[in-house]
């Protein structure tokens, strides 16, 4: 079997915490991402969910190499790019692109849409200057914008339209992998659906693999056949979509899913069982020993404090979870 499009092995990102004072010493590390492994196959999409601060955005920024990981491997088509320098990265930039969360800060207010969408063509010298405009207009049409609007400025567009511009920019280089960092969470619900459907169409048409980072569980379910759940810098469960949503194995996943409102149950009048987690997420500077979720887990026992559960196969399906006492 050929190497997967993207394979991440034991990815670690520790941000140093400096002491205050004239001479700053490193007094600790924020363990934002602490040993994350997953694969994304060509044309497939993997959803990465978790609450704020669990390291999912950092993971995305590491894969696009906006940041250099502390350790671990990022294998793109078999080539490790985790510590690669700019010269090695430049050709790979064509293959890995990113869609940003906030369409209001992801477009330079002083550039026209044509300049924004066409910039990657200039950087990689892909298209001669004479054909650049035609290519930009083609891209605008692909994402459902009026191609005549290439000389407008971002502030003349609505949030949904701006996100389409951001998608057009990401498509300019015809990437094989798109890292979508909460691509719709800044948009209102009616526009969310449009943008999600647009991305799905584009995925089908251009065979793009997605790493879809989100905190909205229902959108991830709609978009991704496979979902990974992160908690405090680690993946706690990874499973095919239906398996994960119907039969969560990890207690954290179960708690997350129980927080999603369920219309069917509400209509039937049944009280849904909601798991309320006690306390706050522990500090990623000093995560709990053993299982990181044990401080808030209702199943925690002594072994959870001493031994860290590995990510292992649970049940009959392809579900993997990191728990000593997985749900059956």
């Amino acid at each position: 079997m050929a190497a997967p499009l993207l394979e991440v092995r034991d990815l670690v990102m520790h941000f140093p915490v400096k002491s205050r004072g004239v001479i700053a010493r490193t007094v600790g590390h924020v363990k934002a991402v602490d040993g994350v492994s997953f694969t994304v196959e060509a044309g497939q999409s993997l959803g990465l969910v978790g609450e704020s601060g669990c390291g999912k955005t950092t993971t995305g920024r590491l894969i696009t190499r906006l940041q250099k990981p502390t350790s671990g491997q990022i294998l793109f088509e078999g080539q490790d790019i985790a510590q690669a320098g700019p010269r090695v990265l430049k050709p790979l930039r064509r293959e890995i692109q990113m869609i940003f969360q906030d369409p209001y800060t992801s477009l330079n207010p002083r550039q026209t849409v044509g300049e924004i969408v066409g910039a990657p063509l200039v950087i990689h010298k892909l298209v001669p200057a004479s054909q650049r405009l035609a290519r930009v207009q083609e891209l605008l049409e692909v994402v459902g914008l009026n191609p005549e609007h290439y000389n407008r400025y971002p502030h003349e567009f609505s949030g949904g339209q701006r996100q389409r511009i951001g998608i057009a920019r990401a498509l300019t280089l015809q990437p094989k992998l798109l890292v979508a960092d909460e691509p719709v969470s800044a948009l209102d619900v009616s526009i969310q659906a449009q943008v999600i459907n647009l991305m799905q169409d584009l995925q089908r048409e251009f065979n793009i693999a997605f790493l879809f980072i989100a905190h909205d569980l229902s959108i991830v379910r709609h978009f991704c056949p496979e979902v990974a759940v992160m908690y405090l810098g680690k993946i706690v469960e990874k499973a095919p979509r239906d398996e994960l949503y119907e039969h969560p194995k990890h207690p954290y996943t179960k708690a997350l899913l129980s927080a999603v409102p369920n219309i069917e149950q509400a209509v039937l009048g049944g009280r849904r069982e909601r798991i309320r987690l006690q306390g706050d997420v522990p500090s990623p500077i000093n995560p709990p020993s053993g299982c990181r979720f044990r401080t808030r887990c209702w199943k925690a026992q002594d072994i959870c404090a001493t031994t860290e559960p590995p990510l292992q196969k649970v049940g009959a399906g392809a579900d993997v979870a990191a728990c000593h006492f997985p749900e059956q």
Binding site: R93, F100, I116, G144, E148, N151, G166, D201
Partner: protein, 326 residues
């Protein structure tokens, strides 16, 4: 493909063709009276500094018959104690002061850009070093240092450009700090990340993505540096530490003071250079205020003009004004 696209989203915007480039027009506010007044005064003075010296006679020429007399037909603004024409001196002096003003503006803007923008974008040890250096320069008291440097250089070598360099070296640090702060905010915006993901080179990110967002701030700082330089030069010259081998408005004032023009009531000698300094400083400040309004929409006083453009009645405008005050 098109199934996902809502057409009503596009229908909102008319498809009338637009000029491809409007960024410069966008930078200018809609005919703010401050800007108009500031630009006209500054324009007249700059024009005078350029063509004045070509028209008037030699400022050093001594009239043998008229010493310290008020304006007459031959000498529009009268003469100095040694019989030199004040009008010609003002022409040359304005040119000298403006050369210093523009040079300081350019040099200190470049310095503040290097220390502020570059350090903040690259970060790490370079940023620490640049920020520390900026802070050191910032706390060094400016005028005493300028006096010391001015004093150190022999009188016959103190030309316009030397004074300009001295003033620029002491005046860039405040702007650098502001630019550093703005750059730190701009560099973390997603569009900078997007262009890094696209493989943009560092210098191109700085020039294409970051710099255009700093231009209003830098323009304001340039104008401020000019005011600082012209006033600073006048102060230095008045103390006898200025460009002693050329004419500036400050050296004219210094001469007038030295030759007792004030005590003898020779107002035509010292009022005009003072007035030119005051007017030019005022004009530049007005320009700066309008730049401020462009940078900070909350300060925008041009709402009135804009509302008039919308075709609102005076009563409606008054009502909106009152609402804003509340």
């Amino acid at each position: 493909m098109t199934s996902a696209i809502s057409l009503d989203e596009q229908a909102v915007m008319p498809t009338a063709p637009r000029p491809a480039r409007r960024s410069i027009a966008q930078l200018l506010p809609s005919r703010s009276p401050k800007l108009v007044v500031g630009l006209s005064i500054a324009g007249v003075i700059i024009l005078w500094a350029i063509i004045g010296p070509l028209i008037v006679g030699n400022p050093n020429a001594i009239s043998t018959s008229m010493f310290q007399t008020p304006g007459t037909a031959g000498h529009l603004l009268g003469t100095t104690q040694t019989g030199q024409d004040v009008w010609s001196q003002i022409a040359y002096g304005t040119r000298g002061s403006l050369i210093i003003g523009f040079s300081v503006g350019i040099i200190s803007t470049v310095l503040s850009a290097i220390f502020g923008i570059l350090g903040a974008y690259i970060g790490g040890a370079l940023d620490e070093t640049f920020a520390l250096f900026t802070n050191i320069v910032l706390v060094i008291p400016g005028l005493p240092l300028v006096i010391v440097i001015g004093n150190y250089i022999p009188v016959n070598q103190r030309g316009l450009f030397l004074i300009a360099i001295v003033l620029a070296l002491t005046g860039w640090a405040g702007s650098a700090r502001v630019l550093r702060a703005v750059t730190l905010s701009v560099r973390n915006r997603d569009y900078v990340a997007a262009s890094r993901v696209s493989g943009e080179k560092t210098w191109r990110i700085l020039v294409v993505e970051i710099l255009p967002n700093l231009i209003p701030v830098m323009a304001s700082q340039f104008v401020f540096a000019m005011i600082f330089a012209i006033l600073g030069e006048a102060g230095l010259s008045f103390l006898g530490l200025g460009a002693s081998n050329s004419f500036t408005l400050g050296t004219i004032l210094f001469q007038a003071y030295n030759d007792l023009a004030l005590t003898q009531g020779a107002w035509w000698w010292f009022v005009p250079p003072g007035l030119v300094i005051a007017l030019f400083g005022c004009a530049l400040s007005l320009i700066n205020f309008s730049i401020d309004e462009i940078i900070n929409p909350k300060l925008r006083n041009s709402t009135r003009a804009v509302r008039k453009k919308w075709g609102l009645s005076p009563a409606q405008i008054r009502q909106l004004d009152e609402e804003q005050i509340k």
